[in-house]
Symmetry: C2
Subunit: 126 residues, 2 copies
Amino acid sequence: MRIGELARRAGVSTRALRYYEQQGLLSARRSTNGYREYDESDVRLVTEIRSLLTVGFTLEDARPFVDCLRAGNHAGNACPESVEVYRRKLAQIDEQVRTLLHRRAEVEAQLADACPGCVLRTGGTK
Amino acid sequence: MRIGELARRAGVSTRALRYYEQQGLLSARRSTNGYREYDESDVRLVTEIRSLLTVGFTLEDARPFVDCLRAGNHAGNACPESVEVYRRKLAQIDEQVRTLLHRRAEVEAQLADACPGCVLRTGGTK
DNA sequence: CTAACCCTTGACGTCAACGTCAAGGTCAAG
DNA sequence: CTTGACCTTGACGTTGACGTCAAGGGTTAG
């Protein structure tokens, strides 16, 4: 199939597909007229990339998964490198949550300071 | 004082100060040679901006606080507009935390799927 | 006089993942 | 033959808060 069909089937733009190729995550053979040609496995591959991006992975994070699929594995996460990325991302998310909660506390304290009575709903007045 | 001293005292770069001015958050009178001249109140103002940025506010978010200080208030958060920003940011932070926790759960589920036994430490095996 | 340090404006670079145009080639249908 | 739908590469724009030159002028100590 050509790039337009792959884009539709994977739910992404053609621009995104060319970008993935440029980043070395996707490859395509070329037909005689220069058009990119893809097969079914590419649909799977792009879908994998998309699902990773939606949970906050970067394309760089997705690379091991892509390599894993390309290596013939049934799933992108079937390789130790992918599992390692999972661990790294979990740690990263935890860190981000901690940062956000810390900020939240500071902002709430400031709000309470600026507007006594504004934050009462949080702990209950009794 | 000139820009270099303000920068040192507020702990920011001169570039940042010029940027704040460009964004309309900071103003300076000019001495005869064209140098920017600041006073004590500007130290306070820049410090306020900084503390807001460190808890995740954008410069746009900081604007009401700056206006509030400039209007002669003792604190940047003494105005209703500032309080409103606090509320907006709290809601925004909560949303971000929810998103992150949702993603965390998905990643963890994927990890468990890819590597059974990897996530056991979370709930205890028993 | 000159080093040395301060200041000025202007403008490009950074980071991610594309969006959006521009200018043009390809191919099947009417 | 000509739409019109597809494809190509190339290149600039987006977002936020600056970093980092470049090229030049001001000021002061020695």
